[in-house]
């Protein structure tokens, strides 16, 4: 038996197995599952904060300058809970910052990456558990920096989440804390991604070849590579902006530049440089925010269709293709920025081409469902909705990739519709599905399926009511980030539609209460799950629920890929990765 690979790592972690104490077990834990859970809870709390910030935006767009009940006073704005214009720009900035850097990226890589990678590849833990723990604890200074920035003089950053200089440089301490927080998130992600790569390459169980890895792991692997290569650029750019802000350098400040409240400026720099550096990271970051969701959806779809994943290798190649092309499309954020229009042509072609792997993935998901036996359980509904919504988000991207059209719809609600279809209707729905799917493994109990379906149906209908009309808003040229667009003649008639969107947004946030109650209630009252409640092939479902320290109570040996549903070789409709073939002689 070739069990050597996993055993060599056993001594390294064996010592932690019996380490006692509440602090060591639940707070400064080295166990990947606890760290994943810590990420999950932290990000869900920030998800709530980000949602509240979004409500502020929606209130202002539906009822401009009218005092906002309850939240208005919390947001520390003008008289009587009215949202002041500077508060509005703060809201759009911090909503995006919180959702991107504190919710989506850490919930995918931090929460699910940590929890799933060792379980799905048959390892006892991450390659470097200490690094893993640090990657979580480096989030805390970032949380504190961003959190306190709301209370410093001038409030949190109003520079937009893209922090374009020179405007961002006119911001005070809020911007300083924003940049600090961003850098710390970067350090955390970097530690995570190095660890994920090492773990996936080095610590797979015997028999777990690269092409027997589930799509979730492939996606996490590619995401980790993307992070590792793109992040240094953002970190460097962040330090450059910090230096411009506090040390009087002029990387992003043009010659002879002044504003009324900021006369420093050594000058000689170039504002566009920031945009190039920022998007060189932040465009790959878009894929960091979607690839793991795609991976998890692939696994859920195959499991509940009771059918092998259609086109496993094309799926792997298209993820890699997205990652590769992801590095050469950043310019499509800058078509009207003033960069050389010749570059617009090349970036248009590369951007069009990156739609291709996404299309291939979509067709393969449809192919997976074709001819299956689909079980409409809650995780499956969320996964199907990911496919349905990603079609919209993917197709609307083509409009903006087309440069002449982008001249008109750039920075309008069309782009707001597009990225919310990808990130909320796509990634967030996939994350909900993943929570329903892996909850039994995390907590050993099932979530309530009926309430899960109610949650799904309401969320699905409402999010479409919120985000779909934004496409037609964008067609009118309705710009984003405008505190009061209605004093423009062109946009005056859009108030009723915005009010409809806002009512739906309030309802959308409210119906998440069902999820919160289900999530916490099931921890105590949910039925016991057992090892494999979904009859899934994945290796993680062979471990106890929840898995103890060291994950597996046997040495997993892998005989096949994770998608052997409905295999003619066995009686059952599933064929776990660890189950030896009926005739051992066939496998040597």
């Amino acid at each position: 038996m070739s069990t050597v690979t996993a055993d060599t790592h056993a001594d390294a972690h064996g010592e932690h197995a019996h380490a006692g104490g509440f602090l060591k077990t639940y707070v400064f834990s080295l166990d990947h599952k606890i760290i994943g859970m810590q990420f999950l809870f932290s990000t869900l709390i920030w998800f709530f904060v980000g949602g509240m910030l979004a409500l502020g935006i929606r209130w202002q767009l539906a009822f401009p300058w009218r005092p906002m009940p309850i939240l208005g006073n919390l947001l520390a704005t003008a008289e009587g809970g009215q949202i002041a214009p500077e508060t509005y720009t703060m809201l759009v900035t911090m909503h995006a910052t919180v959702m991107i850097f504190f919710v989506i990226i850490p919930i995918l890589a931090g929460a699910f990456g940590n929890f799933l990678i060792p379980l799905m590849i048959g390892a006892e833990d991450m390659a470097v558990p200490v690094l893993n723990m640090l990657s979580y604890w480096f989030m805390w200074p970032a949380f504190i920096a961003m959190g306190t920035s709301f209370f410093v003089e001038g409030g949190a950053s109003q520079g937009g989440w893209t922090a374009y200089p020179p405007f961002a440089l006119t911001q005070g301490d809020g911007q300083f804390l924003w940049l600090t927080g961003l850098t710390l998130v970067g350090i955390s992600s970097m530690m995570g991604s190095v660890n994920y790569m090492t773990t996936i390459i080095q610590m797979r169980a015997p028999g777990m070849t690269m092409f027997r890895l589930p799509m979730t792991i492939w996606a996490m692997f590619i995401t980790a590579i993307l992070q590792a290569f793109a992040l240094p650029v953002l970190t460097a750019a962040g330090f450059m902006q910090l230096a411009d802000l506090k040390l009087g350098t002029g990387f992003f400040i043009p010659e002879g530049w002044t504003t009324n409240n900021n006369p420093m400026a050594s000058g000689g720099g170039q504002p566009l440089l920031w945009q190039h550096l920022f998007w060189f990271y932040s465009h790959p970051a878009v894929y960091i925010m979607i690839l793991p969701a795609m991976g998890m959806v692939s696994d859920i779809l195959s499991c509940f269709s009771r059918k092998p994943l259609f086109g496993y290798k094309p799926m792997v190649y298209s993820i890699s293709g997205i990652a590769g092309l992801g590095f050469i499309v950043w310019g499509h954020h800058m078509f009207v920025s003033g960069m050389n229009p010749m570059l617009g042509m090349t970036f248009m072609v590369s951007t069009m081409m990156i739609a291709l792997p996404s299309a291939i993935k979509t067709f393969n998901w449809l192919g997976t469902m074709w001819g299956g036996k689909i079980q409409f359980r809650t995780p499956m509904l969320f996964a199907i909705s990911f496919v349905s919504m990603f079609i919209i988000g993917g197709l609307s991207g083509i409009f903006m990739a087309a440069t002449p059209i982008d001249i008109f719809i750039h920075d309008t609600y069309f782009i707001v519709a597009h990225f919310h279809y990808v990130l909320f209707s796509g990634t967030a729905m996939a994350v909900f599905g993943a929570i329903y799917f892996w909850y039994p493994k995390m907590f050993g109990r099932m979530m309530n399926d009926s309430w899960g379906k109610v949650h799904f149906a309401l969320t699905f209908v409402l999010l479409n009511c919120v985000f779909f009309p934004m496409h037609v808003l964008g067609m009118t040229g309705f710009p984003r980030r405008l505190a009061d667009p209605y004093h423009y003649e062109t946009f005056r008639n859009l108030l009723p539609l915005n009010q409809f969107i806002s009512y739906c947004a309030f309802a959308l946030v409210a119906c998440q209460i069902i999820f919160v109650i289900n999530f916490f209630g099931s921890m105590f009252f949910g039925p016991r799950a057992g090892r494999n409640p979904w009859k899934s092939n994945g290796l993680e479902w062979q471990a106890p629920s929840p898995p103890g320290h060291g994950n597996f109570d046997f040495q997993p040996i892998i005989y096949r890929g994770p998608y052997e549903y409905g295999s003619p070789e066995v009686e059952d409709d599933y064929y776990p990765q660890t189950q030896p073939p009926p005739d051992e002689r066939n496998d040597d």
Binding site: A84, M352, F376, S385, P404, G566
Partner: protein, 265 residues
């Protein structure tokens, strides 16, 4: 058994709402005047046409894929299908088809757009700018070259009331820049947008084909007053335009006379 079928119907029909609602939104929106703003430029038709071209193309792909999704949910529900699961890992031939076909279409779309892009951003007319636009927190300032047709001379007309006057039915070239932070000079009715950057000069050119006043919008976050960084552009027939320029010049000269110490600045 009936209940089970209902459940199946419910979920697949819920997903059927996506293509129905999506198409309905785009059909209904024009009736509520939620549509492209009135196009008063000569090139705007091209851009709207390209938009509609992609809308039709993606619309068809959208409807077909969403209907396929609906159909698979309807047909392959475990409660109603009694066929065994198709034990298939994919098909090389099908993968090739749905790789090459979209690739060709996407490449075609990209090439199809290039001419309009070049016309809008790469081929400026051979003429002197008729106005210099400067964005600053939170206003659009305009400088006309005056009778000598040269900017930055004694007879320039400088206006900061946010009103821009341009001749109709004539190709015009604008020089645009920023004094402080990034702004974006956005003319929804002319389908034009260009970010302005301090320390950099850009051009914008177009031909308006209708008289009247239209919004100038700032489309790049520039501060607390971003929302009110509003301007208006007025297109006038040539004779009225000349008169207007003359009026503005006279007005400016009177103001200079009233402020003698600043007159020779």
């Amino acid at each position: 058994m009936a209940r089970r079928t209902d459940v199946k119907r419910f979920w697949s029909l819920l997903f059927l709402l996506v293509p129905i609602g999506g198409v309905a939104t785009f059909i209904a929106a024009p009736y509520y005047n939620i549509y492209f703003p009135k196009d008063v430029s000569e090139h705007g038709r091209t851009i709207d046409g390209l938009f509609m071209f992609i809308l039709w193309l993606t619309g068809i792909v959208f409807v077909v894929t969403e209907l396929a999704l609906f159909y698979f949910m309807w047909k392959y529900d475990e409660k109603s299908t009694n066929q065994p699961v198709k034990y298939s890992h994919g098909s090389h031939a099908i993968e090739l088809v749905w790789t090459i076909l979209p690739a060709a279409v996407l490449l075609f779309i990209a090439i199809y757009q290039m001419e309009a892009w070049a016309a809008a951003k790469m081929q400026p007319p051979d003429m002197k700018p008729v106005v210099e636009v400067t964005g600053r927190q939170f206003n659009w300032d305009f400088r006309y070259p005056g009778p000598d047709n040269e900017l930055y001379t004694e007879d320039d007309i400088v206006r900061s009331d946010g009103k821009l006057y341009l001749p109709v039915n004539e190709e015009v070239l604008l020089k645009i820049t920023s004094l402080d932070v990034l702004h974006s000079f956005f003319l929804p009715n002319l389908r034009l947008k260009q970010d302005v950057i301090p320390g950099m000069e850009q051009s914008m050119w177009f031909k308006a084909k209708e008289t009247g006043g239209y919004d100038i919008v700032c489309a790049e976050l520039c501060g607390w007053g971003h929302y009110k960084m509003k301007g208006r552009v007025f297109f006038l027939p040539r004779d009225k335009y000349d008169l207007k320029l003359e009026d503005m010049r006279r007005e400016q000269n009177t103001m200079r006379a009233e402020l003698p110490e600043e007159a020779d600045e």
